[in-house]
Symmetry: C2
Subunit: 321 residues, 2 copies
Amino acid sequence: MDILVIGAAGMLGRKLCEALSQKGLIGGRQIAHLTMADAFPAEKSPNPEFSTDVLVGDIGEPSFAQQLLASRPQIIFHLAAIVSGQAEKDFETGYRTNLDGARHLFEAVRWRQYQPRLIFSSSIAVFGKPFPTVIGEDYVTRPLTSYGTQKAMAELLLNDFSRREIFDGVALRLPTICVRPGKPNQAASGFFSNIIREPLKGEPALLPVSREARHWFASPRSALRFLLRAAEMDTGDLGSRRTLNMPGLSVTVGEMIESLERVGGPDAVGLIETRLDPFIQKIVDNWPQKLDASRAEALGFSAEKNFDEIIRAHIEDETAR
Amino acid sequence: MDILVIGAAGMLGRKLCEALSQKGLIGGRQIAHLTMADAFPAEKSPNPEFSTDVLVGDIGEPSFAQQLLASRPQIIFHLAAIVSGQAEKDFETGYRTNLDGARHLFEAVRWRQYQPRLIFSSSIAVFGKPFPTVIGEDYVTRPLTSYGTQKAMAELLLNDFSRREIFDGVALRLPTICVRPGKPNQAASGFFSNIIREPLKGEPALLPVSREARHWFASPRSALRFLLRAAEMDTGDLGSRRTLNMPGLSVTVGEMIESLERVGGPDAVGLIETRLDPFIQKIVDNWPQKLDASRAEALGFSAEKNFDEIIRAHIEDETAR
């Protein structure tokens, strides 16, 4: 199998490439080649059992997508994106990367005339207020950010290209990934991870929203499992509905902090300082709090059942290495 | 007021320009200038009380939109589209005109940095099966045609541009317009009009679907009223939801034919020949049958209450001239 990961230098892309390198298999089949593409040079995973290329380029340029498809990869993971906060502040870069980038990739597949599996990381930001308590897949995508708009547009495009059998697409509406390892990024959702990760390291963290803020989460470990499941699943079960609400956990910031206290102790909680930021609060207020992911669950996707599990997964996966 | 109509050579664009010429007013304000733009030369409306330009160009070219906005029109009607049947058969032309055309226009407004009212003719084809008996505005847009995909994507874009106050957008999900005057076009929905219009003229017409087929209709007269209402309404009432389900009438082909018999007589009905076309039947089967347009109705949009009215409007507006 020849595999292409676009966004390979990102948090999730890196984890995916590491997992592929460690397993050497996908869907029970040997991996022969992996292309790691990003706007920045991705670090090659250690000890790969197959050949790996690292490509650097701009997915906003049509020629880059054409270059990426030269080897006709059978499985394509498109994870590259400008994050929500940045897409809101920088109109043009957001549309260029998040919408045009997806379209250039889809069009490049069309010109190659083969039908790879194409997995696209969408987001719960496709939904905007007002919404029901639990958001099902029949609920309208009415995003209130440019990021959500770009993701919703790419979902529609993926669905049409899949319907026309140009590729075999699956769009995953990922919950907010928490606890993200590494450094804070420009995502408006970054603080959700910061307030857990930093205190666990003995570092202070700022909380820019109220403790009542409720949101929908999954761990990086679950997100990785989602991607692999999407690569391996029988897409015949999807019918004409190629977008899936991914499973997650609906908790408030207050409940997250209670989990942190149980797992990390009261000293950790003491490192969180509340400093309300209306810009972040407004974005978060417009985000969904709970999704109905029953269709994905029936198709073999699953996530954590409580936030303590999410914190323990973070400690196991990140601090033990 | 300076007004721009894109798609001015189309059925609805022509009616709109005629109405503007006859009234000389929009929203109670004097019209000073009208630009009629299309891929084909639009016929200037007779006796205009204001100056009129006819521009010919390709909305798929970014430079055409820039040209159209040179005079900074305060009200823009974007009605230009490749119709559903053609967009399904010609992938590239459909995306180029229906998606890129809208985006070029929206971007041209962004570069001009002024905030015109922008009215976009969307379609009920944004909805696809499975759907509830009555489709509300909270229902997912899951189109099953490329045309519907392009319209749904343009709606998302219009919403984001309006949210960012780049323009003051309103997207109208028009019912299938029936009875369309003139010659059949390539729209998959064309037969709905043919089976009424042609027999009323004493001409035969082909029915390519079963009499049980149910669909959602409004007359050209209502569609024209919708456009004018969208130009005049207070968009403050729309909030962040810039797309409106337009009112219409849910009837079956069988009920349409019963109306034709009442209004046009049994001889007219005898001119309809059923010749099933699976390509058309499949497209129509995926179209919605009834929408909830209560939000639009509360905002002053209204349509016919029975199909006899629709046929009589056609006779008054078309055959009496």
